[in-house]
Symmetry: C2
């Protein structure tokens, strides 16, 4: 169970609103408070019926947690276990500096903070820089999403069975780590613990590289004009689907994981160059081995992910 008297979700878009829905669906009984930037988004989030309170003020949301009196103040208990106040930053990476600054200003000493950012080393460094020592920060990357956005697309089952990487630092309080794991575990995620830099290298390969590839595949296909798309079919549809993602969000993701992304794109160029050389040589044996190796790795992963 999740031993927290309040979960404050900063950002009530798809992920934040889905998290609130999922927590309620799984029986979480503490307070859920949402912080949004726009009144319209807050109204949409309110209509979901899973938030106890919604506000545009981070300070107000954090105060609320200290003052409800439900389960004690938490200050005497002092641990993340009993009745902690958990804050989840579910906003685009570009807003993290501003949000962490506001959290630092409104801080309650039992605060445990986590996030949903797609890169972790830069987020953890920002938390280290901006949050006082009294706040325990544990980075998270719940790997769930959708092309749809906003609270109207919220789905309480969004996290079910998906991987969530939790990235504690070497000196992060163990109880804070357990609390954050309990949060994602409660909504059905498969937990993986990694160091921030290791996470960033891994997602550069499995998430950021596919995105860059999908985007540049659309570019390569249409470089001499879009008429060829008249004969495009399901293969093109699948491989380029994620190129429809939000450009602003992806600029942030690529920029905050710059070196690992550059490295992974370099790997992809090397592999395509290998494919091209095999084609130029007309080496059908080598070509078949490439195709078989990729099929085996892909089928193996697919099988493993379906067994989970």
């Amino acid at each position: 169970m999740l031993k927290a008297k309040q979960v404050t979700i900063i950002g009530t878009g798809l992920l934040g609103a889905s998290l609130a829905l999922a927590l309620r669906a799984k029986g979480y009984r503490g307070r859920i408070v949402g912080v949004g930037r726009r009144v319209q988004t807050l109204d949409q989030a309110r209509a979901l019926g899973c938030f106890d309170d919604l506000t545009v003020s981070t300070a107000e949301a954090l105060e609320g947690g200290g003052n409800t009196g439900k389960g004690g103040s938490g200050k005497t208990e002092g641990g993340a276990g009993g009745d902690a106040h958990l804050v989840v930053v579910a906003a685009p990476l570009g807003h993290f500096r501003e949000i962490f600054t506001k959290i630092a200003q409104g801080a309650d000493e039992t605060l445990v903070v986590t996030d949903v950012g797609s890169t972790k080393a830069s987020v953890c460094a920002l938390a280290e820089e901006l949050l006082p020592d009294s706040i325990r920060f544990v980075g998270s990357h719940p790997m769930a999403g959708s092309e749809q956005q906003g609270p109207t697309a919220a789905d309480g089952g969004l996290f079910e069975g998906k991987p969530c990487v939790v990235t504690p630092g070497s000196d992060t309080d163990e109880r804070a780590v357990e609390l954050v794991k309990a949060l994602w575990g409660l909504v059905g995620m498969r937990l993986i613990e990694m160091a921030p830099a290791g996470h960033d290298r891994a997602v550069a390969l499995v998430s950021h590289l596919p995105h860059a590839v999908a985007v540049m595949l659309v570019k390569a296909v249409t470089v001499d004009g879009g008429e060829v798309l008249d004969v495009a079919s399901s293969g093109f549809a699948d491989t380029t689907r994620i190129a429809s993602g939000d450009p602003g969000i992806w600029v942030d993701i690529f920029q905050t994981n710059r070196e690992a992304v550059i490295d992974s794109v370099g790997k992809m160029i090397d592999e395509l160059d290998r494919f091209k050389k095999v084609m130029v040589r007309g080496d059908s044996g080598a070509l078949k081995r490439l195709l078989e190796g990729a099929k085996e790795a892909r089928d193996g992963w697919d099988g493993a992910s379906k067994r989970r």
Copy 2:
């Protein structure tokens, strides 16, 4: 309507068996004869109930068409319009030489032959080389498929709404072209006429390049080990789905469209290099323009394909 007394389908795998099902579903009343290589596949095709006859012998299938007497022999009528015998080669590209040779041996003078091969210039050249002048050949590429294979995966709705490229040569008999178009039109396909070489350049971009990219993306992601796949999620799943396709079939496709594939892979390498340079420069404006341009092209295509 399809004015043919018989449709002989050589190859009773997914495409061939789905075509037979679709023709029956759309009310085609002529004979449908299937030619397969293995008794097991023929038994599976027979269980579908849409073939009048199934045989391992191409000669027998072609004879059957000339001798049924349904709607006359066709020889006096002499056109592809009235009661032609239409042959559809629905086998892997690697078998085409053998199949065309057998068709030439068992030829009926009113035969119109088409195929479902994914490349067209080499297939049209092979038809020119192997088929006598009395047989009219019109290349087709119905762009429908599935990762599943064999007659047990057959689906009468497989072709519905999908593009089909028909590639007549400059001197192809117009009535033969119309007959082949009537075939694919009847099963719901959206017809596009192109020259064989133009088709090959287009599919090198929209179909063969995505396949090569999906395969080499799996390779690039796993080049230092497969553990990173533990954190792979839907983005990786979508972009690499087609890497599970049959390696043998794809070796044939790549080999028969070699130059256009090499050219399109070169374009992809150039585009990834452009992405990498933008990342190295840290030019977030240029990065955003790349992402926005790709999103616009992708969303535009998706919208257009849904309106059809």
